[in-house]
């Protein structure tokens, strides 16, 4: 094989591999992704057995410890529609009523049953003022 053809062949093989990998990447990311949802979206229409990533604010006065776990309600960022959540696992340090949280889980009988350790709490506003200032 002459060198020019060899190089071409190499380039084609490499490109094919790269394309296949990129295709796999795109396919798996869409099939493995968890959909983000607000409380009102979940209350309105939640497919059973499907995993959602719920974002919203913890309703004041709703946090309750239950043995190992925690139950609370999450409401829309602006609005009152709320969905109850049961959660077990690590509670992030900044978690508190009124704070913005992200939690992943499945809806069962109108309640989000959260995956273990999936709770993420955003930083309290006291340290971010209006402008958003949180170190990495």
């Amino acid at each position: 094989m002459n060198p020019r053809r060899k190089r071409k062949l190499r380039a084609v093989v490499l490109l094919t591999v790269a394309l296949l990998l990129a295709g796999a990447l795109v396919y798996t990311s869409f099939s493995a992704a968890t959909e983000a949802a607000t409380p009102s979206q979940l209350v309105r229409a939640a497919e059973a057995g499907r995993s959602y990533e719920l974002t919203g604010k913890v309703v004041d006065g709703s946090v309750e410890r239950r043995g190992d776990g925690l139950s609370f309600a999450v409401r829309d960022r602006t609005g009152r529609t709320a969905i109850p959540v049961v959660y077990s696992g690590v509670v992030p340090d900044p978690f508190r009523e009124g704070r913005e949280v992200i939690v992943e889980g499945r809806v069962r009988d109108g309640t989000l049953v959260a995956d273990r350790d999936s709770l993420v709490t955003k930083c309290p506003s006291k340290f971010s003022e209006q402008k958003g200032s949180q170190s990495s």
Binding site: T28, F30, T34, A36, K126, K131
Partner: protein
């Protein structure tokens, strides 16, 4: 003072503008004096920004609450260490830190190159000046750190308790030094493209800066991981969080760059690739700076929408488009000087390593920005989790570690069978022996990726060990030196090479820790009363007694109240026995009470987990506690009713009694316990990598002359081979 600071930044902005104009004018008209003048302007810029930074530090140290940013991230009762470092937890302060590092790095590189590369330097100066103009303009017009209050508040917010950890305070400057450092090779690459001097000169001039940036960035990432492990209550060190990913991406492309520039230096190949890599790295560094503060991706780091989104995105887009256009226009000047001779050669291993590194970077990029991508494609925002990342990054990491063993010792151009046998026979045999030993003696086969990683670690360590062994042997035979002397001289004479070997050994050790701890961790979340016992892994864990400390903070974070637990741990086979003291710090909520009244507010502010770890090279025993404060509600309510009117001193006594109540009548507490085998090797490996990088960076006397000779030798060799 604030006026002086503002003036420094404003004059700094003008100076940077001047530097850009003078450098370009000097370059276009070939007037040396203008170019010199632009360099002096960059020195002056460094002086001005250092002054502004110093003024702000003084304001922090003296808790000058008329400064808005001081009230945001510090207070009079913040411990001194956190006063000094509180600045970069604000947006204004971190922008100033960026400019500070940029101006210092720029001044350093311009001084180092003041007598060389006369064509490239003016354009590089202009690029660096332009970057400084952008950041200074943000500091002056949008996010001034010198904004003051006419009537200062009585007290500041204090530093966010979560950030009160030594690693977390050193982590941002390290990351930023990395991000900023990559602007130096970027600027010189642009200069090289503009002037069509696309040889290896710009690489040689800035390689040290690229390596410094890479080292800082890597060290910063390690510190962040260590903070996550030893401060956050979940027990992991990496969560594929957008901001973590943002810092890893430029590090990966930077790693690729450090390798591929060697191919350009040695063989004159990969020129387009190298300029593209450094452009990508710099753009990713800007993106990293931006993502932390943008709030466009949900992360535990990125909070609240920043006002800087638009200008930052515009700047990133300008850098990207400008660079791509420039590279395309200069494609004819970037033609390769040589062709790949064989697939079994160091060049091709380096190319492969580059492709894998860029592949990892792309995977991470896709996953990180998937919420935006999916929203654009399907209309609904979705995200991918850690399993998705792991499924791609794990196999790629295995390939990388394999290449880390092959790359340093395979021959350039074309490896012969003899070369391969000499370089790899012993390491492969050792890796095979490792594999057999693991299969027979340990349960490592339960996790196939980990098993492969252990084997590869053995391979890489054997390669590095063999190189050192042979080098020492040669010196001993030739100079008759004793082994330690021979080793020291061997490394000292060829620091870049052996520094690189040490880095490779470090990365192998790091992945050893990652593989062992992720596959064989024992985790248990359990709720215990004092006196109760549970089992975790091979250990028996007993909650001996609760602790309650009031105004007796032992971790230096300034927390007024701490509830914890004394835990006795004993190995099931007897022998090993130790005590842990995990705790949780409570900070008061702001004045004005909150739902729990005068006394309740002391428990209603921030609270932070204080993890306790028994570190060990074989395994870590990690423990965090979440006290249950419901038992305190009744006494707090009673105290509110009876003592709310008392003077401050008396209230302190009441509070002390409430705190002590937790110890006297303890409720059950929730514990998370991890037994992580060999997780310490992540930090040890990181330390070894740092050591190797420093070794490679340490200046050698006479290195300059040798470098010049080797360049001529290489050029001569190329010409001879062509003839």
């Amino acid at each position: 003072m604030a006026a002086v600071g503002s003036a420094c930044l404003f004059v700094g902005l003008l100076t940077a503008v001047y530097a850009v104009v003078a450098a370009l004018y000097g370059a276009l008209t070939s007037r040396r004096r203008w170019v010199d003048s632009s360099r002096y302007a960059m020195y002056a810029l460094a002086g001005l920004v250092v002054t502004a930074f110093g003024l702000l530090e003084v304001a922090y140290l003296t808790s000058d609450l008329s400064f808005r940013i001081v009230t945001q991230s510090s207070s009079t009762d913040t411990p001194t260490f956190y006063k000094i470092t509180g600045m970069w937890s604000t947006q204004e302060g971190s922008l100033l830190l960026w400019v500070l590092l940029l101006s210092i790095f720029s001044a350093a590189v311009l001084r180092a190159t003041r007598r060389t590369m006369r064509e490239i330097v003016p354009y590089a100066t202009a690029v660096l000046g332009a970057i400084a103009v952008f950041f200074l303009a943000l500091s002056v017009f949008a996010e001034s750190p010198f904004t003051t209050f006419a009537t200062p508040p009585a007290q500041g917010n204090g530093l966010n308790p979560l950030l009160r950890h030594p690693a977390m305070m050193i982590h941002p400057p390290m990351l930023y030094s990395g991000y900023v450092g990559f602007s130096i090779p970027f600027a010189f690459a642009i200069g090289a493209l503009i002037t069509r001097r696309t040889g290896a000169d710009w690489i040689r001039a800035t390689r040290r800066f690229a390596l410094i940036a890479w080292t800082f960035l890597g060290f910063g990432i390690m510190l962040g991981a260590l903070w996550s492990y030893s401060e956050l209550g979940w027990g992991g060190y990496w969560a594929w969080d957008p901001v973590e990913n943002a810092s890893l991406m430029p590090w990966l492309t930077g790693t690729a760059f450090l390798h591929s520039v060697m191919v350009q230096e040695k063989r004159g190949m990969l020129k387009v690739w190298n300029v593209s890599l450094i452009v990508t790295t710099f753009v990713l560094a800007l993106l990293g700076t931006f993502l932390v503060r943008s709030g466009i991706l949900s992360s535990i780091h990125a909070f609240g929408a920043s006002t800087l989104g638009a200008p930052f995105l515009a700047f990133i887009a300008a850098v990207l488009v400008g660079s791509v256009v420039l590279v395309l226009v200069r494609l004819p000047d970037l033609r390769t000087e040589a062709r790949l001779d064989s697939l079994v050669s160091r060049e091709s291993v380096f190319v492969l390593n580059n492709l894998v590194l860029v592949g990892v970077c792309f995977v991470i990029f896709w996953g990180t920005f998937f919420p935006l991508i999916s929203e654009a494609v399907t209309g609904t925002e979705s995200s991918v989790g850690p399993p998705w990342f792991n499924q791609y990054v794990t196999p790629l990491a295995l390939v990388l570690v394999l290449l880390a063993g092959i790359g340093p010792v395979i021959a350039w151009r074309r490896a012969t069978l003899a070369n391969l046998r000499r370089a790899f026979l012993a390491p492969v045999a050792l890796a095979a022996a490792t594999l057999v030993a693991l299969l027979v003696l340990t349960p490592a086969a339960e996790s196939v990726p980990s098993l492969i990683m252990f084997t590869l670690t053995g391979f890489v360590l054997a390669v590095v060990g063999q190189e050192l062994w042979r080098g020492v042997g040669a010196r001993r035979a030739m100079a008759g030196e004793s082994p330690p002397v021979a080793l020291a001289r061997l490394v000292a004479r060829n620091r870049r090479r052996y520094g690189g070997y040490v880095v490779h050994a470090g990365i192998a050790l790091l992945f050893l820790g990652v593989a062992a701890s992720s596959a064989f961790v024992d985790q248990r979340d359990v709720r215990l009363r004092p006196g109760e016992t549970t089992e975790v892994g091979d250990y028996e864990v007993t909650y001996r007694e609760p602790t309650a400390r009031f105004l007796d903070d032992r971790s230096g974070t300034g927390a007024p109240i701490t509830f914890g637990a004394v835990i006795d741990v004993e190995h099931l086979n007897g022998g090993e026995r130790f005590t842990l003291d995990p705790a949780r710090n409570y900070y008061a909520a702001g004045e004005g009470g909150g739902p729990m009244g005068t006394f309740g507010r002391f428990f209603q502010g921030e609270s932070t987990t204080e993890v306790d770890v028994r570190w060990g090279v074989r395994r870590d025993f990690w423990m965090a506690v979440q006290p249950d404060l419901r038992a305190l509600i009744a006494p707090i309510k009673e105290a509110n009713r009876r003592f709310a009117g008392l003077p401050g001193d008396a209230q302190t006594l009441v509070l002390a009694a409430i705190v002590d109540g937790y110890r006297r009548d303890p409720p059950p507490a929730t514990f998370r316990t991890l037994v992580s085998p060999m997780i310490a090797w992540i930090w040890i490996g990181g330390g070894v990598m740092l050591l190797g990088a420093l070794l490679a960076l340490w200046p050698t006397t006479g290195a300059r002359e040798r470098r010049v000779t080797s360049v001529y030798a290489a050029r001569l060799g190329r010409e001879l081979s062509r003839a």
